[in-house]
């Protein structure tokens, strides 16, 4: 897409991402299933964690929406609305705790207001990740940095052992999958994740935030993605189809990307970087995405310290 040679690259690598996340999450059930042979009841068993079931259902819904979008592009407004469906299992299984912990303030009590937030817990991060998935290795490299910073933040916050094991299960599945995917997705990419990949990964972040009760840390770690989607939505004044918007960048004859000066073009993070640095290569832009992710990771760790202090 951003190369003069226009190489043909397979797009639906999201299928591999989904299988990687789904199958490795099943590991959580192995101790429970093996204990069934000793007359153990899987559901009544106190170690059975409904959050893993919710994670598997929700991530499957997000993946299916992404897969459909890869095959037959969805309307710009339909995607975020459909992704609300992926949040329904969280409410249906009562797998949330309406008491997010915030830095400085400490634990809060949001009760009914939290249910409204839960509806968007998959949709917002999934779309934010999807909007930044425009370059080779962007989603995988920023995702790896993000998840490592969340691991460090969680260690600082020091939650209960049961919660910690759930958080590390989700981070482990996402991180392992992204590291494997990065080998093939880094510049020059041999495969793209497509919408199925970015929505699966983004949904994973949202579910990790809500079910792991580390909402604030995940939001801060996702700042580059949120900054990008916020700038796009505010600059084009609402949700628009990619085809309806002017292109934010253009490819020069020397293979470098530069920002367009069209006032109608959305203000993306890439456009800001190109505005600041001038014409740049795709590889350099992805490297800067990584640097911004490291910065937001540091901010997430600082937030964790402030949570711990309270």
């Amino acid at each position: 897409m951003h190369k003069l040679s226009r190489p043909e690259v397979p797009e639906m690598g999201g299928i591999a991402i989904f299988i990687g996340v789904f199958v490795s999450s099943l590991v959580y059930f192995i101790p429970n299933i093996s204990s069934l042979t000793e007359g153990y009841d899987l559901i009544k068993d106190s170690t059975f964690d409904v959050r893993v079931t919710v994670f598997l259902i929700s991530i499957t819904i997000a993946f299916m929406i992404g897969l459909y979008d890869d095959i037959k592009p969805l309307n710009a407004a339909a995607k975020p609305v459909l992704l609300i469906l992926a949040s329904i299992p969280i409410i249906a299984f009562d797998a949330y705790s309406p008491n997010p912990v915030l830095p400085i303030i400490g634990p809060t009590r949001l009760t009914y207001f939290y249910i409204i937030l839960v509806l968007f817990v998959v949709s917002i991060p999934a779309n934010s990740v999807n909007m930044l998935d425009v370059f080779n290795g962007a989603t995988s490299s920023t995702g790896i940095v993000l998840l490592i910073s969340i691991i460090l933040s969680v260690i600082i916050v020091n939650p209960e052992v049961e919660q910690l094991s759930f958080i590390f299960l989700i981070i482990g599945t996402l991180l392992g999958t992204l590291m494997a995917f990065h080998i093939f997705n880094r510049y020059p990419a041999k495969i793209f994740g497509g919408d199925s990949g970015s929505l699966t990964i983004g949904a994973g972040y949202g579910l990790l935030a809500c079910l792991g009760q580390i909402e604030f840390i995940v939001v801060i770690a996702l700042l580059p993605q949120i900054q990008n989607s916020f700038s796009i939505l505010t600059s084009v004044k609402g949700i628009r189809e990619r085809r309806q918007m002017s292109r934010p960048t253009k490819l020069r004859e020397d293979g470098l990307l530069e920002t367009t000066d069209s006032p109608e073009a959305p203000v993306t993070l890439t456009r800001l970087i190109l505005g600041a640095l001038g014409p740049s290569s795709e590889k350099k832009i992805v490297r800067i995405f990584g640097l911004l992710s490291i910065l937001s990771g540091i901010l997430a760790i600082l937030s964790a310290l402030l949570i711990r202090v309270v």
Partner: protein
Amino acid sequence: MEFRRFISIPIILVTIWLTLMVILGTISLFVVPLETDYSRIVQIIIGAIQLFVTILMISIWLFVWYKTTIWLMDSYLKNPVTISENSEN
């Protein structure tokens, strides 16, 4: 030159985070501890004040965030970097 222009993007991220902390600090002034045993009507009034302050602060925050991003993009477009200034690709 290149670094000076680039640094404004990380500064935006840090500013977003810092203003969020200030907002949380302000909201914390209106937060009633979970164990407080007020009557229902007092709880509703306190909740309404908290909600109003939260919505007000977050609206101001989003507006400043939006304006800063647009201003930054405009300033970049008005003073474009030439290829000779762009050292390494």
